[in-house]
């Protein structure tokens, strides 16, 4: 009896806070869903009245939601494009960029693949279709099978910018929904290669990456990413409509605090080096 009445009053409380407009919605990058959820959980544990909803859908979906005033925070694993800023100003929305964490993209190989390291140039050759056999990379004489993310993914865009230098992916590149699907595909495919978040624990091998053909291979470890030596790294952003106020401002401060950054590190991302990286930037 008391149990159910407590549950009901809890529900009423939830409804009340929802009506009071204290709900903060966070939407966007699939890479950052887990991170956003971790932050939201911890923040809600500290602030009982706050209600935070976190959903994914891809960076593009988050941006679209921000531009349509459908979310308070857009989590983005890439910067907004000039076109998106243009569209935002047309819709009288002023996206404020907040750098919230660092992430690196790992290159996945099958565990039985003898290739250990690849240069950025080789990766570009592989993904644009110029290099088609593992033999050219010191591996077996077999065609390379390319796995990629679908083009709504921020990781897809980052990889295209940093590795492909904005060239198109080869048409043979197979696109899969989600990082987990890419890892799964590579884990089952001896001749496969894929890319995605570094935080995913998996049964694939992470290739070492050489920034240039002659430089030393860098493995995607925490230290190497934090020091900026691993070449396929990126910042993870929050975009809000103008300077956050009230609950949202407190949430932002929490995320950028040492506690918030520790949570990011625990979730498998990389904390911001607070003395190096800018916190917010108005575009």
């Amino acid at each position: 009896m008391t149990h159910s009445s407590a549950a009901i009053s809890g529900l009423l409380c939830l409804v009340a806070t929802t009506i009071a407009g204290e709900t903060i919605t966070i939407k966007g990058s699939d890479t950052m869903v887990r991170l956003g959820q971790r932050w939201a959980e911890e923040y809600m544990a500290l602030n009982k009245t706050a209600v935070i909803q976190v959903t994914g859908g891809g960076t593009g979906a988050g941006v679209a939601a921000l531009l349509n005033s459908g979310t308070d925070v857009c989590q983005a694993s890439r910067d907004l494009s000039a076109r998106e800023f243009e569209l935002a100003s047309k819709k009288r929305i002023a996206p404020l960029r907040i750098t919230v964490a660092l992430d690196a993209v790992a290159v996945y190989l099958h565990k039985a693949n003898p290739v250990e390291s690849l240069s950025l140039g080789q990766l570009r050759g592989i993904y644009t279709g110029a290099i088609t056999s593992w033999r050219d990379l010191g591996g077996p004489d077999h065609r390379i099978v390319l796995y990629s993310r679908e083009n709504s993914s921020g990781t897809y865009v980052l990889f295209r910018e940093v590795v492909l230098k904005n060239h198109d992916y080869a048409p043979e590149a197979q696109t899969l929904p989600g990082t987990a699907a890419v890892i799964n595909a590579v884990a089952h495919d001896r001749y496969g290669i894929g890319y995605g978040g570094i935080a995913w624990e998996s049964n694939v091998k992470h290739a070492m990456v050489k920034p240039t053909d002659t430089s030393a291979a860098v493995s995607p470890t925490d230290a190497n990413v934090s020091r900026g030596e691993y070449p396929i790294a990126r910042k993870l952003y929050w975009f809000t409509n103008g300077e956050p106020t009230g609950e949202l401002a407190r949430l932002r401060d929490f995320v950028l605090s040492d506690t918030g950054q520790q949570i990011a590190a625990h979730a498998g991302y990389f904390p911001l080096l607070t003395n190096v990286v800018e916190k917010t930037e108005m575009k």
């Binding site: 859908g57 891809g58 960076t59 593009g60 979906a61 679209a64 531009l67 349509n68 076109r83 998106e84 569209l87 065609r143 099978v145 390319l146 679908e150 083009n151 709504s152 897809y156 865009v157 904005n166 198109d168 992916y169 048409p171 043979e172 590149a173 197979q174 696109t175 899969l176 929904p177 699907a181 799964n184 595909a185 089952h188 495919d189 001749y191 496969g192």
Partner: protein
């Protein structure tokens, strides 16, 4: 014998009941119509908006294009490239390949199962087989897609030594499983609907059960079976989740059934979440939706017409 008596209902209650039922029927009709109008309206910029037309005019969608200077003319689907490329041909080819494999796999199995169930199975077997196959239709496609992604793909690759693990064959076979119950149910109904007077006549002339089923029942039910195949084809073209998970989604133009494919429906599913409202990419995705709507509508309409004609024919003969 006591004559059956019905208690007369009041007129206005009957009137309201009748109107409520017809209203809900009209509501369904209007909903379908509005959905089509919406999808078509969103794809209109391809025909009207000069800015969109520059990126995605009809000949850019359907004809081979030279995308860079001196490069050969190609069909390429790269909508998020610096220079967006919207050739629909790789998607048509992919959709057709998947549907073709699904039909080649499902049609013989479903028709044979229907022959067995309606002609030879004991009543008890029939009551086990029919609901079981029809249960397949209720299987969530995401489950089948997952099965194809994890299990079927590895089996096919190991058995045939395929280069691509996720390919048209893999997706087509999984798709076939969803098509089987569609064909089976309609084919079985069509064969069971062949009047007993015809069977009895054939048996009286000395035909064996095999002769009755293959030379008499099967031809009589053929339009029904054809309708089942056509409706199954419609299902195979529109199915999204399985092909999204199991086909690899690479837009390749080739005739090989073991290459990866990208289908129309999976393209919408993968890309619609990202597009900016009102952009060329957005219009093209809705244009694909319009095409899919038209395809499945025409296919289903054709299947229904054939079924309708079969019913008339069989009923005409038996009376």
């Amino acid at each position: 014998m006591k004559p059956l008596t019905f208690k007369p209902k009041s007129r206005w209650r009957e009137f309201i009941g009748e109107k409520a039922i017809s209203m809900s029927a009209y509501a369904a009709l209007v909903a379908i119509f509005l959905i089509f109008i919406f999808i078509f309206k969103e794809s209109l910029p391809i025909f009207t908006d000069p800015k969109v037309r520059q990126e995605a005019s009809l000949d850019r969608l359907f004809l081979k294009q030279p995308f860079y200077e001196d490069s050969e003319r190609l069909w390429v689907w790269q909508p998020t490239s610096d220079e967006p490329k919207y050739s629909l041909m790789p998607l048509f080819i992919g959709t057709f390949k998947a549907a073709l494999i699904a039909m080649l796999f499902a049609t013989p199995l479903a028709v044979l199962a229907a022959i067995y169930t309606s002609e030879f199975a004991s009543k008890r077997m029939r009551e086990i087989i029919k609901p079981t196959i029809e249960l397949l239709a209720g299987l969530p496609s995401v489950v089948l897609g997952f099965f194809a992604l994890i299990v079927l793909a590895s089996i096919l690759q190991d058995t045939f030594g395929l280069v691509f693990r996720l390919n048209a064959l893999n997706a087509g076979l999984a798709l076939g499983i969803t098509v089987i119950p569609v064909i089976f149910t309609i084919a079985e109904d069509a064969m069971s609907a062949v009047p007993h007077s015809l069977r009895d006549a054939a048996t009286a002339l000395g035909a064996t059960p095999w002769q009755v089923s293959l030379t008499m029942v099967l031809p009589a039910a053929l339009p029904g079976i054809a309708a089942g195949v056509v409706l199954g084809f419609g299902r195979a073209i529109g199915e999204t989740m399985i092909v999204l998970m199991a086909s690899g989604n690479a837009a390749i133009v080739s005739g090989s059934l073991t290459d990866s494919i990208r289908t129309l429906s999976a393209t919408i599913a993968a890309e619609l979440a990202e597009v900016v409202f009102g952009s060329g990419h957005y219009s093209v995705l809705f244009f694909i939706g319009t095409l899919l709507f038209l395809f499945t509508f025409l296919i289903n309409l054709g299947g229904d017409l054939v079924l309708h004609r079969l019913k008339e024919r069989l009923q005409g003969r038996s009376s």
